[in-house]
């Protein structure tokens, strides 16, 4: 087995994509092989660290508004250049809530 094939197997196991019989065999192999166990454990740890470290990347409300305002402003500017009507460019944000709450009517 090449290193790449071994990596594939380990990643399939970590992704829960191994068929059940192969997953059982893999678990047995892990039980018997310390190096394999450590490899799986370290990769699992890296994935968890990655998800945790980047879990708080979301936009702030202020950013959300700012980005949306820019999209609209740039669109309006482009429309003016093309002398197109700009009546369709109003912000679909509910006025009573300063947080971005876009019109959800289309979902229903």
């Amino acid at each position: 087995m090449t290193p790449e094939q071994a990596w594939k197997l380990i990643d399939l196991f970590l992704d829960d994509e191994l068929p059940m019989d192969l997953a059982s065999e893999f678990k047995q192999a892990m039980f018997e092989d310390t190096a394999l166990r450590e490899e799986v454990s370290s990769l699992r740890h890296v994935r968890e660290a990655l998800s945790e470290a980047l879990a708080n990347d979301e936009m702030t409300e202020e950013q959300r508004h700012r980005v949306y305002a820019r999209i609209i402003a740039e669109t309006a500017a482009a429309s003016e250049t093309l002398q197109a009507p700009s009546t369709q460019l109003s912000l679909p944000i509910r006025q009573e809530n300063p947080g971005l709450r876009l019109n959800r009517e289309t979902e229903e």
Binding site: L50, A53, T75, L89, P92, R104
Partner: protein
């Protein structure tokens, strides 16, 4: 709203028919994901904002060519990716700094910073599949389409990237402790 749902198809149809107001709902659907993706690619909030706004503006500009056939998300990420790559090239030329602010909790902040730095230091070929598959939870097929490579090539980059990240992270943590 689910990706590829009938509501999404209606929105895309509206946009393709010239109803620019539909961009608001599309932004609500995908704005956060695109921002996260661009932030992870660029490691800089200001640039991520720029790239996110530009992505949706380009969607509007290209809306006449929109096809509500399920490939919209791939197209959207591909636009964002191209913008990120342009910005990364500019950064390389100008050597602009990335965001390195700490959050709350010192130990967690050190780990967060180490992980972010390790990810930033990875070659782009390894970083992109990790961001798309492990962080954005996009399927291998879609991620491969976004990157313009085959699924086996994507998987190979993913395997190698995960291990390269582990090695960089181990070294960074040893230094930090």
């Amino acid at each position: 709203m689910q990706h590829g749902s009938s509501a999404e198809r209606r929105l895309l149809h509206a946009l393709a028919s010239g109803d620019s107001s539909a961009i608001g709902a599309i932004y609500e659907l995908y704005g956060e994901r695109i921002y996260r993706y661009t932030f992870r690619m660029l490691n800089n909030r200001a640039d991520a904002e720029d790239a996110t706004a530009e992505t949706f503006f380009r969607v509007l500009k290209g809306s006449r060519e929109l096809r509500a056939n399920g490939a919209f998300r791939t197209w959207l990420f591909r636009i964002a990716r191209n913008l990120c790559i342009d910005k990364l090239r500019q950064h390389k030329l100008l050597e602009l700094p990335t965001d390195t602010s700490y959050g709350s909790g010192e130990e967690k902040a050190v780990l967060r910073l180490a992980v972010r730095q390790a990810l930033t230091d990875l070659p782009l070929d390894y970083r992109e599949p990790l961001i798309l598959c492990d962080l954005q939870e996009i399927s291998a097929r879609e991620a491969a389409d976004v990157l313009g490579i085959s699924v086996p090539a994507l998987k190979s980059r993913l395997y190698r990237g995960r291990r390269a990240l582990r090695d960089k992270l181990s070294a960074a943590m040893e230094k930090a402790l």
